[in-house]
Amino acid sequence: MIWQVRCKQFLLLTSLCLLNACGQRFEAPGIGDQQDPALSGNGRLLVTVAERSGRRAVRLVERSTGNELPLKGLNWGMPHRSPSLSWNGRYLAFILQRGERSEIVVFDRALARLRPLPLPGERSPQALTISPDGKRLGVQLLHRGQQDVELFNLPSHEPDLPPGAPLR
């Protein structure tokens, strides 16, 4: 047993030590800086905030092909930040800047529907993360000069589970 653990540790160490390779990048004409990366559960999809014509908007790319996937129904006129994806990429959560106000939105790619999720109280979202099943959000909030992290449930979401995962 101890031998197996040691062996696993050694293999992991060796392989991690070799991790000094060039990464894969998805740049395209007209795309400036790219920030705030997030991945779907199996790493098939990458979302970033990309600068296009001076605007910061989410950009979804399929890793195997490098193709940018359409996100119809999103509001492209307002800056986006801090995107996060559920396991299969059905739910894309991010922060939308409406003038002075920041609000949390979740885009359901299966239904092509953008859902605003207002926060109770005068709190401003700074960063967020969606759970792999898409049923929970972790949000970094600014309230009276202090940053807190809070968890929220999204009870109306259908779960976005990995293939073969049991339904609970």
């Binding site: 991945l39 779907s40 807190d148 929220f152 109306s156």
Partner: protein, 158 residues
């Protein structure tokens, strides 16, 4: 349409409408366990818990949803390092971290089960700022500064 079918449709409509109205519901049982005086940042959700950067001595923390309590992360935090960004896989076993240490910004992978922390080199060299790991823990996306530009780079992990 029969009377029964009408009431069934009405009931379904009200039920769906009710679900639609359910927005963000704070997790009242867990949130008090996260909140501390000072600035919390960089939340990252797994299926089994959440990692984030807690205030005070700026440590990466892990909250286990099954117990509702924090669990130790041996070998991950050190008092002279400042974590900048953290991300965790779906199982809560593999963490990716960007931290500042002795004037350098470094990218690391932490294996929770083995309490192993290893640096990841970037080629060509760049300054990492933000990191995201895939749910299966096999792919890393890193926001890197090179020559005054922000790029996002993907790395496959063993």
């Amino acid at each position: 349409m029969s009377k029964k079918a009408f009431f069934y449709c009405l009931f379904s409509f009200l039920l769906l409408g009710g679900c639609e109205g359910q927005g963000l519901q704070p997790e009242l049982g867990l949130n008090p366990r996260i909140s501390q005086p000072g600035d919390d940042s960089s939340p990252s959700l797994a299926a089994t818990g959440m990692a984030w950067i807690a205030p005070g001595s700026a440590q990466v923390r892990w909250l286990d949803f099954s117990t509702g309590f924090g669990s130790p992360l041996p070998g991950l935090n050190r008092p002279d390092a400042q974590p900048i960004s953290v991300s965790v896989d779906s199982a809560g076993k593999r963490f990716a971290l960007v931290r500042s240490l002795a004037g350098r910004t470094e990218l690391l992978i932490y294996e929770r089960n083995l309490a192993l922390l290893r640096p990841i080199g970037l080629v060509p060299a760049g300054v990492p700022a933000k990191v995201a790991i895939s749910g299966d823990g096999r792919v890393l996306a890193v926001q890197v500064s090179r020559g005054g530009r922000w790029q996002v780079e993907l790395l496959d992990l063993p």
